[in-house]
Symmetry: C2
Subunit: 565 residues, 2 copies
C-alpha cells in the first residue's frame, strides 16, 4: 500500500538520512549534545529543569490523565539521596489499556515505516528538550550523580533511542512496498504485482530497571513503536518518574501528529505488586523488553519466550578485565579507577573481575607484583575520591539496601572467600544530601582457585583482583566465567600483540565485546550509539544487543498480496 | 579480522551478486532450471539419476562413512509407491558428533561470511547436478509425483537454498569488518578502531519432514551453515534418503574446499526413536529448524525456545480461499482443481477451506448457487483426474495411513460434521505401482456454523466448501480461523475492488499472504524464491518465513574489539 507522507517525515528527513548513514558505517554520530552547558541548552535550562522537576513532587502526575485507569494511584519512590518524591501515578486499568492499544494499532500500522520513524524522532526531540527535568528525575530515582544523570539518561539515551528508530526504519525499508515480478515463459512472461505490507506483532511490553530507566528502556520502546507495535511501559517501582515523563511526552507528540496516544501507555505500580508478570502473561502481549535481575529475567526467558513471545533481556554478568602489561601505568590506573568509581560500580557494564598474574606485570614503571598492582589501583581510587564534595559527583548514591549491605561488609566478604581486603569501601558524606549513602569502590584480592565469589554478579562497589598463574590462565578464566555467567563488557591491558590476539579470540569465544588498552577518556563501561553494540546476545548476560538487525527484524512481519498484471 | 579470499569466492562472485540484487528487489531470479528436459540437464541425466537412485537401494548408504557412528544402522523407508527402500544409514554417535561439530566451528567462523557463502553455493550446485537422483529419492519417500519431485525438491528447493545463503551473506555484510570512529573533542578528536567479528551461535539442528524433506530442510540448513554454525540434519525416519544425499554432497564439498565435513552431519533414525527430542535437548544445540506436525512443534516452541534456543517452526494450518465473484469461471475452476489435486492436497500450502456465500456468486457464466459452484468445482476436479495414467502424475501417492484413512471416509466425515459430500475422493489405480494408494481430492460442504471440522487441519485430499451468509462473513471467518489456527496461504476471487481491499485487510489482520484471482499458471500453493515469502511468521502455522531478515539475523552475533588509534 502507498502511504500518505506525514509533515513530520519532511521535517526529520535529514536527521533520518544522517542517522541511516551513520548506522550503516557504524561511525560517530550524535544528534543530542551531551554537554549540559548553558551555551548548548540555554542559560535557564538547568534551573527551569530543576523547577519543573520540583513542581512534580508531592502531586498527581500530569500528562497521563487520559489513560484508562482503575481510579487508584501508585507511587512510592524514595530518592537514593534521601527525600520521598511523593509523586502519584494513576494505576492503569489493564483490560482497558490493552483494548485501547489494540484499537490504536491499525492506523499506526497503515501510516507506514517512514511516518512512524518521523513521529518517533519528534518524540525523542521532545524528550531532549526536557533533558534537565528528566536528569533530576533520574538522579532522584537511580542515585546517579547529576552530570551522569544528564548525559547517560539524557542525550546518550536519546541517541540510543534514535539509533533504535533508525535501525527499525532501515529494516522495514529493506522490504519493497510493491514490485512487478516477471517470470520468463514459453509464450509470454508471467507477470505479477506483489505488494508487501509491514504488519506489527502485537502489544509490546517494556519492563524498566531501577538504575538506567531511560537508557535501557528507550531501545525496546522505540524499536517496538517504530515497527508498528503499541507499547506499554512498566517502569521499576522505584524509578517511575523518568519513564512517566517520557511516556507523557510520547503521548503528547502522538496526539499532535494525529495518532492515538494509546500507542504508548505507562503502567505504574508499587513494589511487590507483580504487574510485570501480569502483563507478560497477557496473550495480547507479543514482545517483551526487559532489563533487571536474573530471577525474573530467567522466568521471562522460560515462560514468555516458551509461549511464543519475543523476549529481549539484559540481566547480570561478571564483567572482566585481564591485566597483562602496560607502557602507561598511570593511564591504566586512572582509567580503571574512574571506571570503578562511576556511579559506585552500579552500572551493568562496571568491571567486577580483574585478572592479574600472581607473578605481577611489566609496566613502564618497572615490574609490579600482584600486591603492588592492587596497592597502586587502590591508591588511584583513593585519590580520585579523596575529596567528598568532588567524589559524590562521580559516585552518586547507592541505589538499594543490597548494595549498601555489600559495600559495608567487604572485610567479611574477603575472609569468607579466602581472600584479603586490598581497599575498603569508604562511606562518603554528601554535602547536600546527608541521608544519601555514598560509597567508594572496594577491592578484594582472591586466588583464582577461590571462585565462589567472583563467578557471580556482586552488584555495586566491589571488585575482585584475581591472582592467576599466568595471563594465559587469566584469559581462560575470563572466557569460561563469561560463557557460563555472562558479561556485558571485557577489557585487556597488554603491550604484547600476541596477548591482544589471544584476548580477541577469548572474547569471540566468550561472546563479549572487548576494549583494549583504554588509558584515556574512553571507559570500558561506556558504549557509543550507532557504533558500539551494547551487549552481544552471545552470552548469558543478555540475549540481545543495542541495536543490531536482530533486535528489530523480528518485531514486524511482512504480508504479501499478489495478483496477475 | 581480515579474511583470506577462498578460490570459490571468485568462482561464485557473479552468482552471489545477481542473487543479492534479486533478493533486494524481490524480482524474478532462478539459478537452477526447473525443467527436467534433456535439453537442459543432458540426454542421459534422467536415466543416470534413476540408475544412481536404484544403486543405493538395499545397500549401506555411502558418503557418510567418516561420520562418528555407534556402529549400528537405521533405515526403514518404504516408498509410498510400494517398495521398501532398504537403504541402511550409519547411526550417529551423538556425543562424538557434537564434539566434532564444535571442533569444526572456529575455522569455519574465521573463514568469514563470503567464503562461507561461496562454499554453500558450491554445495547447492553439487546438489543441483544430482537433481534426478534426488528426485527419485524424494518421489519414493514422500509419494510426490515425479515431475513435482524433480521441480519442487530439486531446482525450486535449490533456489530456496541459495536464497537462504544470500540472505545470510547480505545480513553479515551489513556489519562492517572494521571502522575508525572519530569523536570530536576539545583538544583533539578521540579516535578508535573498532573491529566487528561475526560469531556463530552454536550447533544448529534441522528436523526434516516427510513430505518436503529438501524444500523445507534446505532454508534452515543453509541459513545456519552460512552464518557459521555447524548443522546436524535429522531427517524424518520415512524421508531420510533425499537429505542423506544432500548431506553427503555438502560434506564432500566442504572437504574439498579445505573445511571439516563435520560442519554438516546426518542423524538418521527409525520411527519412534525420539532422536529429534534428544538432540533438541542437547545444551550445545543453539538453533532448531523444524517442519512437521503441531504436537512436536509446540513442544519445541515451549521447551527449546524456553531454554533460550532459537526455534523456527512450520507446523499446520487451515489454508483458506474466499470466493466472491469472478469474470473467468473456467479459470477459477481450473486453477482450484489443480491446486487441490497437486500431490493429493498433501502440501502445507494446499487450500482446505473454501468460503462461498450460500446465496451463490456472480460469474461470467451467470449467477451460480452455492450448490452449483460445488458441482462445477467437483466436475473440474473430476475431469482433471479422469484418466488414471495422467492423474497419478499430478496426484502422486498418499504418504501415510492417516491420509489414507481420511480420504476413505469422507461420507462419514460429512455426516459427522453436519455437512454433505459434494465429491468423494476416488481411489486411482497406479499403472506402474499397483501398491500405491492414490487418491483424488474430495469436497465436503458444511455450513459456516458447523465449525468443528474446518477449524483444524485435515491434511490430505479433503476440502471444505463452507456456506456463509455473505462475502463479509467469509472474510471474517477466514481472518478469525487463521488468527487462531494458522495458515500458510490464502486466496480470494472477486471482481470487486472493494472486496479485494477488504480481503487484503483481512489477510493483514490474520498475518497470511494473499493470492488474488489466480486463474492461470500460478497456484496458491506455490511460492517463488527471492520474491514470495513462504509463511509470514505472523500466525500459528509458522513462526518464521522463508527467507526474510528475521530468519537469518539472529543466527549469528557480533563481537566488537576496540582500541585507540
Amino acid at each position: 500500500m502507498t502511504h500518505t507522507p506525514h509533515p513530520l517525515s519532511e521535517k526529520h528527513a535529514q536527521t533520518l538520512a544522517e542517522a541511516r548513514a551513520a548506522l550503516a558505517a557504524r561511525s560517530f554520530y550524535s544528534r543530542y549534545p551531551e554537554s549540559p552547558s548553558p551555551r548548548v541548552y540555554g542559560e535557564d535550562a538547568a534551573s527551569h529543569g530543576r523547577s519543573a522537576f520540583e513542581g512534580l513532587l508531592g502531586e498527581g502526575f500530569p500528562g497521563l490523565g487520559d489513560q484508562p485507569t482503575d481510579g487508584s494511584f501508585a507511587g512510592s519512590e524514595v530518592s537514593p539521596y534521601g527525600p520521598r518524591l511523593r509523586v502519584r501515578y494513576p494505576r492503569l486499568d489493564v483490560d482497558a489499556a490493552v483494548a485501547a492499544a489494540q484499537a490504536a494499532m491499525p492506523a499506526w500500522r497503515d501510516a507506514g515505516p517512514l511516518t512512524r520513524a518521523a513521529v518517533c524522532v519528534e518524540v525523542v526531540d521532545a524528550i531532549n528538550k526536557r533533558s534537565f527535568e528528566i536528569a533530576n528525575a533520574v538522579m532522584h530515582t537511580t542515585g546517579q550523580p547529576f552530570v551522569m544523570a544528564f548525559q547517560a539518561a539524557g542525550p546518550h539515551a536519546q541517541d540510543r533511542a534514535l539509533e533504535s528508530v533508525v535501525a527499525a526504519l532501515v529494516e522495514q525499508e529493506r522490504v519493497p512496498e510493491s514490485v512487478v515480478w516477471e517470470k520468463p515463459a514459453k509464450d509470454a512472461p508471467i507477470r505479477m504485482q506483489k505488494d508487501y505490507r509491514i504488519v506489527p506483532r502485537g502489544i509490546a511490553l517494556v519492563i524498566g530497571c531501577n538504575t538506567f530507566p531511560t537508557w535501557n528502556g528507550y531501545p525496546g520502546m522505540f524499536a517496538s513503536l517504530a515497527t508498528g507495535n503499541p507499547v506499554i511501559v512498566k517502569p521499576h517501582p522505584r524509578a517511575v518518574l523518568p519513564l512517566a515523563l517520557s511516556v507523557a511526552l510520547a503521548r503528547s507528540v502522538l496526539r499532535e501528529a494525529g495518532f492515538d496516544p494509546a500507542l504508548v501507555q505507562l503502567a505504574a505500580e508499587d513494589d511487590g505488586e507483580g504487574l510485570a508478570r501480569e502483563l507478560a502473561e497477557r496473550p495480547e502481549v507479543a514482545i517483551i523488553d526487559y532489563t533487571g535481575g536474573p530471577g525474573f529475567g530467567a522466568w521471562l526467558e522460560r515462560e514468555a519466550a516458551g509461549s511464543g513471545k519475543l523476549v529481549y533481556t539484559e540481566k547480570a554478568g561478571v564483567n572482566s578485565i585481564v591485566v597483562d602489561s602496560t607502557d602507561n601505568l598511570r593511564g591504566v590506573l586512572g582509567n580503571l579507577a574512574f571506571s570503578l568509581t562511576l556511579y559506585s560500580g552500579q552500572m551493568c557494564t562496571t568491571p567486577q573481575n580483574i585478572y592479574v598474574p600472581r607473578e605481577g606485570i611489566d609496566t613502564d614503571e618497572g615490574h609490579l607484583s600482584f600486591a603492588d598492582f592492587g596497592e597502586r589501583l587502590g591508591g588511584a581510587i583513593g585519590r580520585l575520591n579523596g575529596d567528598d564534595a568532588k567524589a559524590v559527583e562521580l559516585l552518586g548514591a547507592t541505589v538499594n539496601e543490597d548494595v549498601r549491605a555489600r559495600a559495608g561488609a567487604l572485610e567479611a566478604l574477603a575472609s569468607r572467600v579466602g581472600g584479603s581486603l586490598v581497599l575498603d569501601s569508604r562511606a562518603v558524606n554528601h554535602p547536600t544530601y546527608p541521608d544519601a549513602v555514598v560509597r567508594t569502590p572496594g577491592l578484594v584480592a582472591v586466588d583464582v582457585a577461590d571462585d565462589t565469589a567472583y563467578t557471580q554478579e556482586c552488584f555495586g562497589p566491589v571488585t575482585f583482583l584475581i591472582a592467576t598463574d599466568s595471563t594465559e590462565q587469566s584469559l581462560e578464566r575470563m572466557r569460561d566465567t563469561i560463557r557460563e555467567h555472562g558479561a556485558m563488557t571485557a577489557a585487556v591491558y597488554s603491550t604484547s600483540e600476541k596477548v591482544l590476539d589471544q584476548a580477541r579470540d577469548a572474547a569471540a569465544d566468550a561472546g563479549v565485546a572487548l576494549s583494549e588498552n583504554l588509558t584515556g577518556q574512553v571507559f570500558v563501561n561506556q558504549t557509543a550509539a550507532f557504533s558500539d553494540y551494547h551487549g552481544t546476545g552471545a552470552n548469558p548476560a543478555a540475549n540481545a544487543a543495542y541495536v543490531d538487525a536482530a533486535f528489530v527484524a523480528n518485531r514486524f512481519r511482512v504480508v504479501t498480496s499478489r495478483r496477475h498484471v
